[in-house]
């Protein structure tokens, strides 16, 4: 019987297994291959905080979801069409999310009595018929298959067993008609010098593919055509890597040395690690003894003329708060990145959340305004990081860049930018006295209100800065009440002046209508997808996405009143919502979910329909 190809627009698949099963690697390989095939894609890695939770436990389940499409897409998808479950625990955790009628590919060999019990199953779900009515169940004896494939290799059964993720990947490659070459090449590079491992994994991959081909379980294969992306050179890009690249590009364009002071923390550590590998770009990375030391070193490096950056997550920002205030009062340029995760306290270290907006806005003592920019997609982290650096240097201020766990680890096809076309970042260190035979470190630029930057080593401009309130112009210590009031106003006004650099808002849809979806940060994709669907249905729904949250763009106020309803979906309890209501006195409504994962497109559509009645 011949196999048939069915062309579909898009598919969502999810790999789930034990932390040790290599699900992130499998997802990563599927992603890279899918990118090369030319689909648009979006990914959602979802892993536990524990490095190795007990094997087979529910807590140890690690998953990776990818949506790929022949169209322009914005999210990793709500519910998968295909679930690959490598053990009972993975099935237990994820089966409820599979779409009705979806395909379930399971490693039958892992459904042992012990594992079933560990996952809380009383009977074996792949044998008791409980799934058959709802899903297409495809149990495969993966361990047996890879054992057979690796026959003749001198390798322990344990190591052979570890290749079963490649087998599963091969099956999925067959189902969705993807080539094996890039994964084979990748294996050779990754395990260079370990020929047996390369051989075993390659055999497992091919075995999976061939199994799909020979068995009659997969009579229909799926084709997802190339997406119609803007022309250009592309690569796959994840958020933390994009952030690192954006910082490096800003250093090159500004001509400054990049100094990065950091302390390891999930999900921001990749940025430290990535920058540490770029020593040949002159990058100095300093792994500090704690979060406070890392921001303090950044302040010292900023004072000394580096492009100074730190990245952390919410708990780290909390520790850095006092020092950030020092950065604000000394008006030194630096970028502080928060890759947000679930909170409060240690919260959900590996899961995404947008709940540090209030912290970014208000989490310091005193009146301490700080510009806040938020990345919208994994690839956008590059541009957001670049812009954060540019504004920090132009306005002489710390800038906070908000990313999140989803953006940091998620990926998408990324059109490679041309560095020459990025906006210039001019830096002019002070070289001469700007007063009457004296240097005035707080004499301001009329347009930006920024102060001059005289760095140690510059003759004749020796001066002192510090955390005590300073007198206007001279920067001397001042306890004068009028001066403090004035300096407070100036610091506020300086941040507001950044509006000059914020382009007019891009409204997706009509600039007035029944409902506006207003978003910031990583919820961009879900909100845009929901808006597209609602507009296709003929609803009067528009979407505005904020890149800058502080200051808010000049034109937001006039735009926002053009809609009868305003909906602000956020992965927090309504932090932008409260700001918008306070700022513009509009009766905006929130859609607030904190489940450690992106807000689903369907929940936004549902909420909009409910609001529109």
């Amino acid at each position: 019987m011949g196999k048939t190809f069915k062309t579909i627009d898009e598919a969502v698949i999810r790999f789930a297994g034990d932390s040790g099963d290599g699900m992130q690697l499998t997802g990563g390989r599927f992603t890279d291959t899918t990118a090369i095939v030319g689909n648009d894609l979006s990914t959602l890695p979802d892993f536990p905080a524990e490095i190795r939770a007990p094997a087979g436990s529910l807590a140890g389940v690690s998953a990776f979801q990818i949506k790929f499409s022949s169209k322009d897409i914005h999210t990793p998808g709500d519910k998968p069409d295909v679930l690959v479950a490598m053990n009972p625990a993975a099935l237990k955790v994820h089966q409820k999310e599979l779409i009705p009628g979806g395909t379930m590919i399971v490693n039958k060999d892992a459904f042992t009595t012990k594992n079933l019990k560990f996952a809380g199953y009383e009977t074996n779900p792949i044998e008791d018929g409980s799934l058959d009515d709802y899903f297409t169940l495809i149990p495969i004896e993966m361990n047996k298959m890879v054992t057979a494939a690796c026959e003749g290799l001198e390798m322990s059964p344990k190591l052979v067993g570890r290749t079963k993720n490649l087998f599963a990947l091969g099956v999925l490659f067959y189902m969705y008609d993807r080539p094996l070459e890039s994964t084979e090449a990748w294996l050779k590079k990754k395990f260079k010098g370990k020929d047996a491992i390369i051989d075993a994994n390659t055999r497992a991959l091919n075995a999976g593919y061939n199994y799909g081909d020979t068995t009659e379980l997969f009579m229909t294969r799926f084709k997802v055509e190339k997406a119609n992306l803007a022309s250009g050179n592309y690569r796959n890009m994840n958020g933390n890597f994009a952030t690192s690249l954006g910082l490096l590009a800003a250093a090159e364009k500004s001509g400054l040395n990049l100094f990065y002071g950091g302390y390891p923390i999930t999900p921001a550590s990749d940025i430290l690690q990535t920058l540490a590998s770029w020593k040949h770009f002159g990058v100095s990375t300093f792994q500090a003894e704690d979060e406070i030391a890392s921001i303090s070193s950044v302040i010292g490096a900023a004072f000394t003329g580096s492009l100074a950056v730190t990245a952390t997550s919410g708990p780290g920002i909390a520790l850095k708060a006092e020092a950030i205030g020092l950065g604000i009062i000394t008006e030194l340029p630096m970028v502080i990145i928060n890759v947000q995760r679930g909170g409060p306290s240690t919260g959900l270290p590996t899961k995404t959340e947008q709940s540090d907006l209030n912290q970014a806005l208000f989490g310091r003592n005193g009146e301490s305004p700080m510009p806040i920019i938020a990345a919208a997609t994994p690839g956008d982290c590059f541009f957001a990081a670049y812009e954060a650096c540019r504004i920090a240097l132009k306005y002489m201020t710390p800038v906070m860049l908000l990313s999140d766990g989803y953006l940091a680890n998620g990926s998408e096809p990324w059109k490679i930018p041309n560095v020459d076309e990025l906006e210039d970042i001019p830096v002019n260190f002070a070289k001469k006295k700007n007063g009457e035979d004296e240097y005035l470190p707080y004499l301001r630029d009329d347009e930006t209100l920024s102060r001059p930057w005289a760095i140690p080593g510059t003759p004749g401009l020796e001066h002192r800065v510090g955390g005590i309130e300073k007198a206007e112009n001279t920067g001397h210590v001042s306890y004068d009440p009028e001066n403090h009031h004035k300096m407070t106003l100036i610091r506020e006004e300086k941040v507001n002046r950044i509006r000059q650099d914020i382009p007019a808002l891009n409204v997706f849809g009509e600039s007035h209508g029944d409902l506006l979806i207003l978003s910031w940060g990583g919820t961009y994709g879900s909100c845009r997808s929901a808006s597209e669907t609602l507009q296709e249905e003929g609803k009067s729904v528009s979407h505005i996405h904020l890149r800058w949250v502080n200051p808010l763009p000049q034109d937001l106020g006039e735009l926002i009143v053009g809609y009868k309803n305003v909906l602000i979906p956020e992965i927090n309890m309504g932090q932008l919502l409260r700001l918008i209501r306070a700022e513009y006195l509009v009766d905006a409504k929130g859609l607030n979910q904190v489940r450690g994962r992106p807000i689903s497109t369907s929940s936004i559509i549902e909420k909009v329909n409910e609001m529109l009645g």
Binding site: D32, A35, I36, G38, S182, K226, A230, S231, G232, N233, Y234, N236, L245, L248, A249, G261, W278, K279, H280, F281, G282, V283, S284, F286, A288, E289, I292, A293, S296, S297, V298, I299, G300, A301, F303, T304, G305, S306, A308, E322, G325, L326, T330, K415, I416, V419, I455, P456, G457, T458, P459, L461, E462, H463, R464, V465, G466, G467, H476, V477
Partner: protein, 335 residues
């Protein structure tokens, strides 16, 4: 090259125009004056000095030095100074801190910058009290100290700064006293000359909240209570009438009017074991208080090693271009 001859700098060149605001009689004045006096002798350009301080009385220091200066936040001066030094290793970076700032709230940074051998000169003014907050006990206050925060006497055991520094792998540990002006200047010179983290503890009298804390070492009987360590010289004190020797691993006092000087220990500032023993004489009930360079060795500094790594990477891989990095990896073209 046609260099313009500039007159050598003087003490005055290092005095800022800011009025000094310590209490009259404070030991900080003496340290400031000595620092301003000493700086020109280093023969370095003024713009290459950076003074970084935390919070506390001592930490106002940078405001009074006409160099680059940073009055930071409580305890963080070593970390800020670390950023300064990495960003520009050619600068001479000085950290001014106190016992509360450096050992309590900033203890972590203190320990780690010593461990890394970051090339910073750390001057710790130890007055064994919190002065700026008006008189609470500090981590070097003696047990039982009565302050406003410990009206029944402190139940905190004090820590020993040189021992802590040695434990943190410091490569230069010294102690001096505000009133010992010549000695203070000498220690500053040694600190400056040392490549790597230099820790100098300065006993400093707070005449308002802890007056007389170091009276034993500055009063009429000071030579009987202080031993001035000198490299490769016998450890003698009390104007040469007494010395120190080891009995097993225990230090004891030798009466040189009865015994030979040959029995006396010779100070070797490169000997870590000896340094630990000497550090233990701090506030010892019998032994004199050691001052001078307790320990000094050379090893590569963090800032040098960072420069070396960057240079080596550039040599090996060539100076990076961002566009190349952007274009790297698996890429594909969409027409």
């Amino acid at each position: 090259m046609n260099e313009i001859q500039t007159p050598p700098l003087t003490k005055k060149d290092f005095e800022s125009d800011q009025a000094v605001r310590w209490c009259p009689g404070c030991g900080d004045y003496a340290i400031l004056a000595q620092t301003q006096k000493k700086m020109p002798s280093f023969g370095r350009k003024r713009e290459e000095f950076v003074f970084v301080a935390g919070i506390g009385c001592s930490s106002r220091f940078p405001y009074y030095m006409n160099t680059y200066g940073f009055h930071t936040i409580h305890g963080r001066a070593p970390a800020v100074a670390t950023g300064v030094k990495i960003a520009n290793p050619d600068l001479s970076v000085w950290v001014v801190t106190g016992d509360g700032d450096g050992l309590s709230i900033g203890g972590n940074h203190f320990m780690h910058c010593l461990r890394r051998n970051m090339d910073l000169n750390i001057l710790m003014f130890n007055n064994r009290i919190y002065g700026l907050t008006k008189g609470q006990y500090s981590p070097t206050s003696e047990l039982g100290k009565k302050t406003k925060a410990s009206p029944f006497g402190s139940i905190d055991y004090p820590l020993n700064p040189p021992s802590l520094a040695l434990g943190a792998q410091a490569t230069f540990v010294a102690r001096t006293i505000d009133r010992w002006q010549k000695h203070l200047a000498e220690m500053m010179e040694r600190s400056y000359a040392h490549d790597g983290a230099s820790f100098t503890e300065i006993y400093q009298n707070c005449n308002i909240f802890n007056d007389g804390a170091f009276e034993e070492y500055t009063g009429a009987d000071k030579f009987n209570n202080v031993i001035e360590l000198k490299h490769n010289e016998p450890m003698v004190f009390a104007k040469g009438t007494k010395g120190i020797k080891l009995e097993g691993s225990t230090a004891v006092i030798v009466d040189l009017e009865k015994s030979s000087i040959d029995e006396v220990l010779i100070h070797d500032e490169t000997n870590l074991d000896m340094a630990h023993i000497i550090a233990n004489w701090t506030t010892h009930p019998i032994l004199p208080e050691p001052i001078g360079v307790i320990y000094c060795i050379q090893k590569p500094t963090y800032n040098e090693e960072m420069v070396n790594q960057i240079d080596a990477a550039k040599k090996m891989r060539g100076s990076g271009k961002v566009q190349d990095l952007l274009n790297a990896g698996d890429t594909w073209v969409v027409d």
